[in-house]
Symmetry: C2
Subunit: 493 residues, 2 copies
């Protein structure tokens, strides 16, 4: 079942998806929300077997996998509710021109699905960012069909989750072709998908090199298509002086918990910690060393990720004046130790590779001597998914310019916290500029992620009897709409 | 003044714009709206001299230029009002998680400007899509700085409008560097701008080849940047049988008025008319021939556009079984005749060049014999800015599948009208898939065009005293915000 899909079969799957899309695209939001809720229930009701399968394939703790599955169920349901609210569709109706009376001009606009979307899942989230993950959910919400390229690191989980979706489609009476999945050797199948004329958008989660390759291919098409790729990020942490003075030891404790959770395999992992070079550094390092030394090694997702971890670590340690600050028990093969390196500002700024993501239980602490070094560090980073500031009130007051610079860097800003899990809410922003993602204007998670796959279509002076239900005067679906500039759920009288 | 800007000076202008952006980006929406209103007033108060200058450079009728200038003033004001409403900023605040009580989780998100935007104006709208046009307005609204590459077809108008903006900036006490303009020989300066590290987005209006070149350059950058290019479109018109039977002669009259307005130099010009091959065709062509034959030739914008017009016309007439249906008095040099060609469905479908835009007073009428031909035509077109359907109620009922296909084709759908001017409203959608634009998810005109230049930034559990004003509990600016899923202008208590 996890053998590779032939190009002929990929083409067939895409064409089936397109046919299903032509059927699905005009389903109103209630019908689409119904499908999303059905898939959520099907995922929720999947049994413990899938946890074992995913655990075997990913080495992630079963508890973490159960939590991930619950999170994903919530994400599908939130997308369904967002559809029913109407918010993400950006429905706008103008029947007046510039506040004057009705002049016979009537313009009604709604977001519609782009077509068939292809999704590339991530190795580190076998449920949430894979076959039945948030990209698939957002695309279905938008009225699109989906073809997933299954991640090679968890083929059995992918097959299982495909069956979950197919079951939900069947129960709902929707065409099974609305969802397709392919298995591909290296990148041939994925590249074929991205080039396929009937594919109209791409969702990707993974490395910068992988995301960039897809972005470039999509941009070279005769008809370029949008790619939303969530890629690399070191999510720097800036610890400001007053906070540091009061909390260095407690900070070390919290950081250790964060670093070692799920073997650090979060895209929001904080890979660089910027802290003052003051006497408190000693208590910070003492606590961190003590906490980490008893830490058992953890298995990473794949052998190749473990290899990358070791290569990244070696490259960093190869830089003069980069040293090991603290580490846990050594690993072997797919298992690696938790490790924190240390260097100072001039060395960090002079060696670009120290700013690159090393996926896993790895971080580097950079010390700064003064405000100039801190300012230089704040301007050093490429765009990020998250940036964290640890600060007392007096720090926020004193370092306003720094906070401003940092707030330009990332899609999400945290105060006095590491960039822990992403909750699925309207305000969710899981994105950032390049190379964190390929388009800073969108989010990978949350109801607003649906907008990646929607295009506005305006109906001008259309026959009221032939408008899409979402745009009709009576507002039969009870959606939020901006009517002559005012958001309302009311009908038009 | 319209000599070419050296690369050194372009670099200087971009750096000045970036410095001004760093000052401007944290101005709250009221301060930005104030600037937009100031520029609107300055444009409004510019004297008749600019109409003469633009007329001389573009050959557009003075009346059309005055109307365009008024339209532009309105567009700046609408963008300002949209900012003050808050809609386009997509402000979302979640203080509850999934309907439960407050759990100490607080997430607040707002759209922020991408940085310095470069704008490439169009030849056919020296005010509305040029130096002080809608792209510049949208970028300022988003909190961005702007560097325009002036269009070579109207350099004096560009210099004048630059002074208009600079005057408004000066009066408002804003840094003049917030707006810059360059003049460039061929594409060297423009390409340099698109590659410049401090340029973070591009707005373009023009040809497919020009837009695609910029799109490709932007995509090849180390840090790719978003390009919104509005390019080519033939905006097909589908006339359905019952409508045709009742209105063929009146339709010809309306079409002639539309075709010849402003020498047909609209991006929403309807270049292809699809009509039934029935006896009513005779009255249609009789009226059209009669209306056009007395029509004087009109000067196009530039010699090169007149050349393209003649080349496009010759290429179309070179196709077997394409003939002249109606034409006006012949032109010479920059002046061209109004002309309508005719062919049938098989010929049209077999000759791709007949579906390409010929800018100016040019259209082609394609006749269909039956529903199969009509269906084939409806599936033939690439994406479009607009598509028009002329139909009686019974047509809409009978041809639902056709209407559905057409509604996938374009950003704006018109019923029983040609795609006349674009009004600036919340519902405005001036966009479409490739090659109509480079990104179907956005609009070039209207308040929602501001979203092209905004990226969401989320503040998680941020210190309330240091939140941007737009996200503060008290909502001091009275903006619309989605709070725990409900749009409201109320404060958070």
């Amino acid at each position: 079942m996890d053998s590779f899909t032939s190009i002929e079969n990929i083409d067939k799957i895409v064409k089936q998806a397109h046919q299903a899309y032509l059927w699905y695209k005009n389903k109103h939001v209630k019908d689409r929300a119904y499908l999303l809720h059905s898939i959520a229930s099907e995922i929720e009701n999947s049994d413990e077997e899938i946890i074992s399968i995913a655990h075997q394939e990913t080495h992630l703790p079963k508890e973490a996998l159960r939590a991930e599955k619950s999170w994903l169920v919530e994400a599908w349901r939130e997308n369904a509710e967002a559809l029913l609210s109407g918010h993400v569709l950006d429905i706008r109706i103008d029947t007046k021109v510039h506040g004057s009376d009705y002049e016979g001009y009537d313009l009604r606009t709604i977001g519609k699905g782009l077509g068939t979307v292809t999704v590339f899942g991530a190795s580190n989230w076998p449920f949430a960012f894979s076959t039945a993950g948030v990209d698939t959910s957002a695309a279905f919400a938008a009225g699109c069909a989906v073809v997933v390229k299954a991640h090679a690191a968890h083929p059995k989980t992918s097959v299982y989750m495909e069956q979950v979706i197919k079951r939900a489609l069947e129960k709902a009476g929707y065409p099974k072709g609305l969802f397709g999945q392919i298995f591909s050797n290296r990148n041939a199948g994925g590249q074929y998908l991205v080039k396929h004329k009937l594919i109209k958008a791409v969702g990707f989660t993974g490395s910068v090199s992988g995301g960039r390759a897809i972005y470039d291919t999509a941009g070279k098409r005769a008809e370029p298509i949008p790619v939303f790729a969530e890629m690399g990020s070191v999510n720097p942490v800036f610890v400001l002086p007053a906070y540091w003075k009061n909390n260095a030891a407690a900070f070390a404790q919290r950081f250790k918990d964060f670093l070692t959770d799920k073997a650090g395999q979060y895209c929001t992992n904080n890979g660089v910690l910027i802290v003052p070079e003051t006497e408190e550094f000693n208590s910070f390092s003492a606590v961190l060393q003590n906490e980490l030394k008893a830490m058992e090694p953890q298995a990473l997702l794949t052998d190749s990720i473990a290899d990358s971890f070791r290569r990244g670590k070696a490259a960093a340690l190869n830089v003069d004046q980069v040293e090991i600050l603290a580490q846990g028990k050594p690993g072997d093969g797919i298992s690696v130790e938790s490790i924190v390196l240390k260097t100072d500002t001039p060395v960090f700024l002079a060696n670009e590779n120290l700013s690159e993501e090393v996926f896993g239980t790895f971080s580097i602490v950079v010390t700064y001597k003064n405000e100039d070094e801190l300012a230089a560090l704040s301007q050093h980073f490429a765009s990020q998914l998250t940036a964290c500031i640890f600060a007392e009130k007096q720090d926020l007051h004193k370092y306003q310019a720094l906070v401003e610079t940092v707030s330009d860097m990332a899609g999400r800003l945290m105060l006095n916290n590491f960039s822990n899990g992403v909750r699925v809410l309207y305000a969710t922003q899981h994105g950032g500029g390049y190379p964190a993602t390929s388009d800073s204007r969108f989010t990978a998670v949350g109801p607003f992620s649906i907008k990646r796959f929607l295009k506005p279509v305006a109906y001008q002076n259309w026959d009221p009897d032939y408008l899409p239900m979402e745009l009709q005067n009576k507002n039969p679906l009870g959606l939020w709409r901006i009517i002559n500039g005012e958001p309302t759920r009311n009908a038009i009288r």
